[in-house]
Amino acid sequence: MDWNATEPVSSDCVDGRNESDEEKTDHQAVNITLCGSAPLLWRAADIRKCREEFGVVGNLVGSLARQPRQNVRLGRPLEILQEETRLLVETGKATALRHQELSTENKESRLKAVELYKARLEQSYEEQRALALEEKKAVLQRVMDEKQNDHEGNDGAEQAVRERLECLEKSFLFPRSALAVQLCTARAGFSHSPEEHAFLTADWPMPRDKRAETRFRVYKDLRRKGFYLTAAGKFGGDYLVYPGDPLRFHAHFIALCLPMEETLPVYDLLVIARLGSNVKKTVLLCSPWETSDDEKETEGKVVYSSLQWSGIV
C-alpha cells in the first residue's frame, strides 16, 4: 500500500507540490488528530519535530503537567493552524487521523490489554517498592556513618541504627497508595496496524473556499521565506509573522490575507494600520496572484504591501 493513496488530500493536491516533497514522504509521519475541527498534536516528539524541522509553532492548549492550575504556561496538546495541517499533510510529513472510537478492538484483545495493564502495574509496584527500600537504606546508612565519625564512643546509638537497618528488609512497608502511576497524555499508542492506520486517516474536512485558499497560499509563501507564523486573531489579522522562533523574538508583521480583486473599505484599512502602529508592528497586506491552470510560473507568488502610519512634519 502506498502512503499517498491513504491521503485523500494529496491526491487532488494543488499548487506548489514538487517532486522532492513526494520523495521525502517520511516514514515517521507526525500524527495529527482532529478534535472537532481543530487539528491537535499530542506526542511530545511530534510537537518537537514540527517546530524544529517544519517551523510549525502552534499553540499549546492543555494544562501544564507540572503546574496545571495556571494559564501562563500551558502544556500538551498543541493546536496548529488549518494551513499548517494542510501543508504538512500535502507534503506527506503528517497524517491526519480521524479520532478513534474507544472500543474498536474486540473483547478478547481488550481483555488481554487489561491483563497487560494489571501486570505492568504489579511489576511497577514491586520495582518502586525496591527503589523505596534502597532509598531508605541509603538514608540509614548515611546516618550510621555520620554517627560513627562524630562520636567514636557512642556505640549504643550506632547499634540501634544498625539494628533498624537489619530488620528493615522484613518490616519495610510500601503502601499501595504510595505507588506512583503515570496519567498518560497521549493515547497509550498501541501502534495501529497499517490497515487501521489507513482507515483512520481522516477525510479532510478542510474548508476549501476562496478565503481558505488565499490564506493557505500566503502561509506557504511566508513559510518558504523562513518566517515563523502564528494565529493573529487578537491583532485583527490572519497571521503574526516572526523573524525567528517566537519564544525569543517579537513579531514584526501582522499579515492580512486579501484576494487580489477584493476591495477593502478604507475604514478597515485605517483600523488595521492604526492597530499595527499601536503594537509596533507593520501591517502586511498579502495578495496571492490569481492563477489559471496554464500559468504555472506565477503560481505561489504573493504580493505584499506594507502600511506605515506616518504624519507629515
Binding site: M1, D2, W3, H27, Q28, A29, T33, C35, G36, W42, R43, A44, I47, R48, G62, S63, L64, A65, R66, Q67, R69, Q70, N71, R73, L74, P77, E79, L102, S103, A113, V114, Q123, S124, L131, A132, R176, S177, A178, L179, A180, V181, Q182, L183, C184, T185, A186, R187, G189, F190, S191, H192, A231, G233, K234, P243, D245, L247, R248, F249, H250
Partner: protein, 471 residues
C-alpha cells in the same frame, strides 16, 4: 507494502518513549514544580552565539516542560468510570476537595460532567477508566468532547476559567433533571409585572420556549396560592368581570383577566385618582392613600402611544387580531396556532381542487407571489436558508461564579457573569442575538468568550441608558 512494515516500527518506539519506567516514576516524586522564566524577547535574529545559546536554553526548558508526563500517587487519585451512553463519569472512590464546586449526584452515585472530569484529569486529580483501562488525556478529549456534551471550544474556555480558580457550571444542565443539582433561577420580572418565576432551565432549550410556556400556562407561580384565591384584585374598587368558562384557568396558571393593572396612559381614564390597593395585599400596617394621577400623567410621554395607534389604524388588518372573536376564544398559544392553521386550510379549500389535491402541486399560488415572490418561492424549495437566525446558534453556555470557600452547589447564588463561547472564525452575533441572550441572562451580565486557536479573549456589551430629566 514494504513502507508499511517500516511504518509500524517507529510508532512502537514512540509509545515506549512516552510511557515512564518504574525508576522514572519513582524519581518524579521529587521533581521540580517551578515554571522556568523566559526573559525579554529580542527584535532581530543576528546569528550571534549569545542569541543562539539563549534560544537553545529556552527551547530546552520548553521541551522539558512540554514532554513531562503527569505522575501521581495512587493514594491521591480519585478513580472514576466513563459511561459513554449517559455521557457522564461516575466516581468509584471518594471524591476529593473538588466535590465542593463540581459534580452532581445521580441515584446515589457521585457523577461528573465530562468537561469536569477532563479538567480534573488534566490537573492530575482523577483517573478515568473505561472497560478497566485508564484513559489518556487524549482519549478524554476525543471521547468526552462532542456537540452533545461540551465542544472543544467550550472546553477551552471552561478549562481556562477553571485554571484561574473560578467556579464554572453549565448554564443549561441538560443531562440531569434532578432538582438536587443547581437549578438556575431566572427572573422574568421585566415582562410579567412584579411576578418572579422560577424556571427549571433543564426543561428549556431556548428563550422562545419560555414565552410559549407562559402562554400555555405551564409555569408554576412562585408563590403557592394556598388561600385558594384564584382571582384576587390588586385594586379594590375594580370588580372582576364574570369569567366566561373558556377562560377558567387551570389550577396553576396566571389569570390575566382578573389581575388588572391601572391604565395610566390612556386619556380615557377620566378619574384623576387611583384608588388605594387592596389592603390584604399590603404588608403589615402600611396605609396607602388614593393616588393623584394628574402629577404623574404630566410625566408620561404619550407621543409614542399616539403614533403607534395611528399606524395601527392605518393598516387595520394587523391590529384586528385582538378584536377577532375567534382569536379571543383561544385559551392559549397552541389553540391560536391551530386556529391560524385551520384558516389557512380553509383558504386552500378555495383553490381549484384539480390543481391542489394531487401529488404534483403548483410551484406557488398567486397570493404568495404578490410580495417578495422570489424569496418565498426559493425558500419553499429550500434553495435559500430561512431568514430568521437559528435560535440555537447563540446560547448561554456557562455560569461563572467567583471563587468562594463558602460556595454551595445546591445554592450557588447569583453568578457573577454568564458566558457564551464563540470563535474568531464564526460570525459576530447581531443585535437580536445580543438582546436575546442578555434578556435570557436576566440581571446577570453576559460575557462573550471568543476563542482563536487557543487564545481566549473576553468581551461584553454594556447597555447604556442616556440619563433623562424626569422633572
Amino acid at each position: 507494502m514494504a513502507t508499511n512494515a517500516i511504518q509500524s516500527e517507529p510508532v512502537r518506539i514512540d509509545f515506549c518513549d512516552e510511557l515512564l519506567s518504574s525508576s522514572k516514576l519513582f524519581q518524579s516524586r521529587s521533581r521540580s514544580h517551578k515554571i522556568p522564566v523566559r526573559g525579554q524577547k529580542e527584535f532581530l535574529p543576528n546569528d550571534s552565539e549569545r542569541q543562539k545559546a539563549r534560544l537553545q536554553k529556552i527551547l530546552d526548558e520548553h521541551w522539558t516542560t512540554v514532554t513531562e508526563e503527569r505522575v501521581e500517587r495512587v493514594g491521591n487519585l480519585v478513580n472514576a468510570e466513563w459511561i459513554p451512553e449517559k455521557k457522564i463519569v461516575t466516581l468509584q472512590s471518594r471524591a476529593g476537595k473538588f466535590w465542593q464546586t463540581m459534580g452532581f449526584s445521580d441515584g446515589g452515585k457521585q457523577c461528573l460532567y465530562p468537561e469536569e472530569a477532563l479538567y480534573l484529569m488534566e490537573c492530575g486529580n482523577v483517573q478515568v477508566f473505561y472497560q478497566d483501562l485508564p484513559l489518556s488525556i487524549q482519549e478524554g478529549y476525543e471521547s468526552f468532547l462532542s456537540a452533545e456534551t461540551v465542544t472543544y471550544l467550550q472546553y477551552q474556555v471552561f478549562g481556562h476559567l477553571k485554571r484561574l480558580g473560578y467556579v464554572v457550571n453549565r448554564y443549561n444542565n441538560r443531562l440531569c433533571n434532578k432538582k438536587s443539582t443547581a437549578s438556575s433561577e431566572v427572573s422574568t420580572g421585566r415582562h410579567t409585572g412584579e411576578n418572579k418565576t422560577n424556571v427549571q432551565y433543564s426543561s428549556l432549550n431556548y428563550p422562545g420556549q419560555i414565552y410559549r410556556q407562559i402562554f400555555q400556562g405551564k409555569i408554576p407561580r412562585s408563590e403557592p396560592d394556598s388561600d385558594g384565591a384564584p382571582g384576587r384584585h390588586w385594586w379594590t374598587n375594580i370588580t372582576s368581570k364574570p369569567q366566561p368558562d373558556l377562560f377558567q384557568p387551570s389550577v396553576r396558571c396566571w389569570d390575566f383577566s382578573c389581575i388588572i393593572f391601572p391604565d395610566l396612559g390612556s386619556h380615557g381614564a377620566d378619574s384623576a385618582c387611583l384608588p388605594p390597593p387592596d389592603p390584604s395585599l399590603l404588608p403589615g400596617a402600611l396605609q396607602v392613600q388614593e393616588c393623584h394621577m394628574a402629577h404623574w400623567c404630566r410625566n408620561i410621554d404619550l407621543q409614542q402611544e399616539h403614533s403607534s395607534k395611528q399606524t395601527h389604524s392605518q393598516n387595520g388588518r394587523l391590529c384586528n387580531i385582538n378584536d377577532d372573536r375567534m382569536v379571543h376564544q383561544c385559551k392559549n398559544w397552541d389553540e391560536y396556532l391551530k386556529l391560524v392553521e385551520e384558516r389557512k386550510s380553509q383558504q386552500h379549500n378555495n383553490r381549484p381542487t384539480h390543481l391542489w389535491k394531487k401529488e404534483v402541486l403548483p410551484l406557488a399560488y398567486s397570493r404568495k407571489c404578490s410580495s417578495n415572490r422570489f424569496y418565498f418561492i426559493l425558500y419553499d424549495f429550500c434553495l435559500l436558508p430561512p431568514r430568521l437566525p437559528d435560535p440555537e446558534q447563540w446560547r448561554i453556555d456557562f455560569n461563572l461564579y467567583q471563587p468562594d470557600p463558602e460556595f454551595k452547589k445546591s445554592n450557588p447564588g447569583k453568578p457573577s457573569t454568564r458566558l457564551c463561547v464563540c470563535s474568531f472564525d464564526g460570525v459576530v452575533p447581531d443585535l437580536r442575538a445580543l438582546q436575546q441572550l442578555s434578556f435570557q441572562s436576566g440581571d446577570v451580565p453576559m460575557t462573550f468568550a471568543v476563542v482563536d486557536h487557543g487564545d481566549i479573549s473576553f468581551y461584553s456589551f454594556k447597555d447604556f441608558k442616556l440619563p433623562t430629566d424626569v422633572y
